[in-house]
Amino acid sequence: MSLSRRSFVIERLRKERLLSLLAKGHRLDDRGLLDYRPVKIETNVIDKAEGSAKVDLGDTSVIAGVKVELDRPFKDTPDKGILIVNTEFLPFASPYIEPGPPDENAIELARVVDRGIRESGMVDLSKLAVKPGEQVYAIFADVDVLNIDGNLFDATSYAVVSALATAKIPEYEVDGDGTVKATGNIVQLPITTIPISITAAKIGDYIVFDPTEEEEAVIDTRLTIVFSEDNTLCAIQKGEPGSWTPDEIVNLIGEADGKAREIREIVKRSISP
């Protein structure tokens, strides 16, 4: 599925209106420039998935499901489990979606969400090699984008993080004779941290957090930053044509860090048993 383009005249009028609002410190939905929309997270929504979470970020709605299989490890990481993030824009998620395989937007989304989680070390993949070199856990985190109203990066990241953090997987052990078998126990994934993605957008000279679809249609540029719990940045992705000064970026990261701490509390509350 891919996103097609929209009307340009309407975009231009909307941008003017938005800029005049921003000049007064307002947004179209009355939020402050650095406010997030309400974040609503429901976990364990799909019984057949080992982990799952539905995230509503305003009217943006995504659902992540985690499936776990045993598989051969990748050649270059024989002693690590496998984590694969895949996203699909469901065709009903927006009137602007075109049929077909994931386009560059869906692929970028999946890869950026994957990097934030992978680089934070959230899931300790080195603990997921059941029989190193031969059988490891392969974790598929599939995301269905249900309704698009902007800021898919953050909503998708929160959904995958929540689904992984609440997943329950079968435990395996290696027999004396080297065969892999289920112990019958159900265990949690080895989770070490809760990474939080924060996305900002620049419209004219204004910077806003958590842009809606209406805002994204007119933004100049975007920056997504993922924060780990140990005071580090673990992934960044600039998006859209448009540019940032180095100073803007340095300042923005400071602001975003604070916001990440707020959101992390919401996520943690939602995933606690």
Binding site: V45, I46, D47, K48, A49, S52, D59, S61, I63, G65, V66, K67, E69, N86, E88, L90, P91, F92, A93, S94, P95, P99, P101, F140, D142, D144, L146, N147, I148, D149
Partner: protein, 237 residues
């Protein structure tokens, strides 16, 4: 293979032979779609959304005398026991076709010539009878989108397990049973718009099964109506 029906006529999930699983329908669950519905039928969890009537792209697909209806039935990778590839399988392509035909029978397609209507079905979690639950929910989503229809289409399956004709097979019954017979039905017009079968039935068994299916669809129709009434009257919009 365990026994699917015990001496008391109870099924693996405790139901009687003619008993339906719990069904719950929510209307208008997606913001962007023109109409939508969410159904839980047993463990099936399905979202259906409708876009249209709208322009046809590419234009040469437009039909001069009626609406052009497209339908996609799709299962999420996490909807089944073993992860499913997101690419549409041959089964999904066939079901998209028969579901579309089951719904088209009810839609007043002649009222919107040269337009298109998209019906998107996403199975988030799958249990026995997902095609029926999809049709049931799609019919509600069409109503929610304001598409003029001759009748609602209600759908459920019947089947044969351990020699008994029963209503509304769950996953285990579907896999281990002898016959699956999904039906879609327009209750006010007394007309069947989907009928498939696999497995072996004597003629007399088929007649009983079809009759039971029609009764099941009538129950489903009641649930569809309640869901729409709840949405339009309780929410007052």
């Amino acid at each position: 293979m365990g026994k699917l029906v015990d001496e008391q006529g109870r099924r693996v999930d405790g139901r009687g032979l003619n008993e339906m699983r719990p069904v719950k329908i929510e209307v208008g669950v997606l913001k962007n779609a023109d109409g939508s519905a969410y159904i839980e039928h047993g463990k099936n969890k399905i979202i259906v959304a409708v876009y249209g009537p709208k322009e046809v792209h590419p234009r040469h697909l437009a039909l001069p005398d009626r609406m052009f209806i497209r339908c996609r039935y799709h299962m999420s990778p996490f909807s089944v026991q073993e992860r499913k590839s997101p690419q549409p399988s041959r089964r999904e392509i066939e079901l998209s076709k028969v579901i579309r035909e089951a719904l088209e029978a009810a839609i007043m397609i002649e009222e919107y010539p040269r337009t298109a209507l998209d019906i998107f079905i996403e199975v988030l979690e799958s249990d026995g009878g997902s095609r029926g639950a999809s049709i049931t929910a799609a019919s509600v989503a069409l109503a929610n989108a304001g598409i003029p229809m001759r009748d609602m289409v209600a759908s459920c399956a019947v089947g044969k397990i351990d020699g008994h004709i029963v209503l509304d097979l769950n996953d285990q019954e579907d896999k281990e049973g002898e016959v699956d017979l999904p039906v879609a039905y327009m209750p006010n017009l007394n007309r069947i718009t989907l009928l498939q079968m696999d497995g072996k039935l004597l003629h007399e068994e088929f007649d009983r099964a079809l009759d039971l299916a029609v009764h099941g669809c009538e129950q489903i129709y009641g649930i569809q109506r309640s869901a729409l009434q709840d949405y339009y009257f309780k929410q007052d919009r």
